[in-house]
């Protein structure tokens, strides 16, 4: 296995794990409040739709589009995604943005979905579909949670897999992460807040940014010294950058404008 294949598998695994933690929070909340059958059915349908998307879009993309064009476009997409994850992770690590609190999200989703809640009463599917032990609200919430969180994973699987010819490896790494998160989530009894989500997001952001820079360079005709090994160098450079930026931001503190507003946004 080449260096790029190993880093690719790690990047997809990490990205998938982060998104699956968020999806698992929503599915668990839907399962606890609306019944596990509908929540698990919603999850299964979403996973099937996401897998169909990978096959329908990823395979033709890898076969029909010229590899260098694919690498530039895909590298640019990875760069946008990676830089956004990196930016948010640095802001969270330095205290300029609130950490993603899975416990709070779980509690809010449970409150919203509990029978009799204002949000549940106002939903289009409230009260419907419950006769045959199925619950439309539970199904829809679980489906939306897994589908929306999984879309970023699908994009990463397609972009990384198609540009490097490792679509099967990327899909396998994403599936492994989903299984690992489900098993760990079950074992730790819903204590998803214990997962070091920001550190994982930081690591994945570094890897996606490195891949983005590497693929855009390769696709545009640049020959990186050391070929695939350059990915590791880029990972080191961006890890160092994130570390220095986090330290600097911690020392800087909030800007005058932010201090005057007195808020720490969560998104």
């Amino acid at each position: 296995m080449t260096t790029s294949a190993v880093v690719l598998a790690l990047a997809v695994f990490g990205a998938s794990a982060v998104e699956m933690v968020e999806a698992l929070t929503i599915v668990t909340a839907a399962g606890v409040t609306r019944g596990w059958r509908s929540a698990l059915e919603g999850t299964m349908v979403a996973v099937l739709v996401l897998a169909a998307l990978v096959i329908a879009v990823g395979v033709p993309l890898a076969r029909l589009v010229p590899i260098n064009v694919l690498r530039v476009v895909i590298g640019a997409l990875l760069l946008v995604l990676g830089l956004d994850w990196l930016r948010k992770a640095v802001l969270r690590a330095s205290g300029h943005k609130a950490l993603h609190d899975e416990d709070a999200i779980f509690a809010k989703t449970v409150a919203d979905l509990s029978p009799g809640s204002a949000k549940e009463a106002g939903s289009e599917t409230a009260g419907s579909w419950r006769h045959g032990r199925r619950d439309a609200t539970g199904f829809t919430v679980a489906f939306k949670g897994v589908f929306l969180e999984g879309m970023e994973v699908v994009l990463i699987v397609i972009t990384l897999g198609a540009s490097s010819g490792h679509l099967a490896l990327a899909s396998g790494a994403a599936a492994c992460a989903a299984v690992v998160v489900c098993v760990v989530g079950y074992l730790v009894a819903r204590q998803l807040s214990e997962v070091p989500e920001n550190a994982m997001k930081l690591a994945v952001g570094i890897m996606l940014t490195s891949f983005g820079v590497f693929w855009v360079g390769e696709g545009s005709g640049l020959h990186w010294p050391g070929s695939d090994l350059m990915i590791l160098v880029l990972v080191g450079v961006f890890a160092m950058t994130a570390f220095v930026l986090s330290l600097a931001m911690r020392r800087l503190g909030p800007s005058r404008r932010a201090a005057a507003a007195g808020s720490v946004p969560t998104e």
């Binding site: 530039v72 760069l79 300029h96 855009v216 640049l222 020959h223 961006f238």
Partner: protein, 70 residues
């Protein structure tokens, strides 16, 4: 609104959120980076140093902008 129009609107919203989101400067930085990569592809050593530097510059700018908004 028809189902098709709603689907297209949701698709457009998804890509706008994905590409631009709340940090449009990173989207601009990526376009600058792709332009620089295409322009510097025959300048090996310079490109190897400059391309990651462009990314670091835009990331640092975006993080500082995030501090202003926090």
């Amino acid at each position: 609104m028809t189902v098709v129009v709603r689907a297209v609107a949701a698709f457009a919203r998804f890509w706008k959120g994905f590409l631009i989101g709340d940090a449009p400067e990173l989207f601009v930085g990526t376009l600058v980076f792709v332009g620089a990569a295409l322009g510097l592809r025959h300048h090996g050593a310079v490109a190897v140093v400059l391309l990651p530097a462009i990314v670091i510059l835009f990331l640092a700018g975006s993080v500082l902008r995030g501090r202003d908004r926090s």
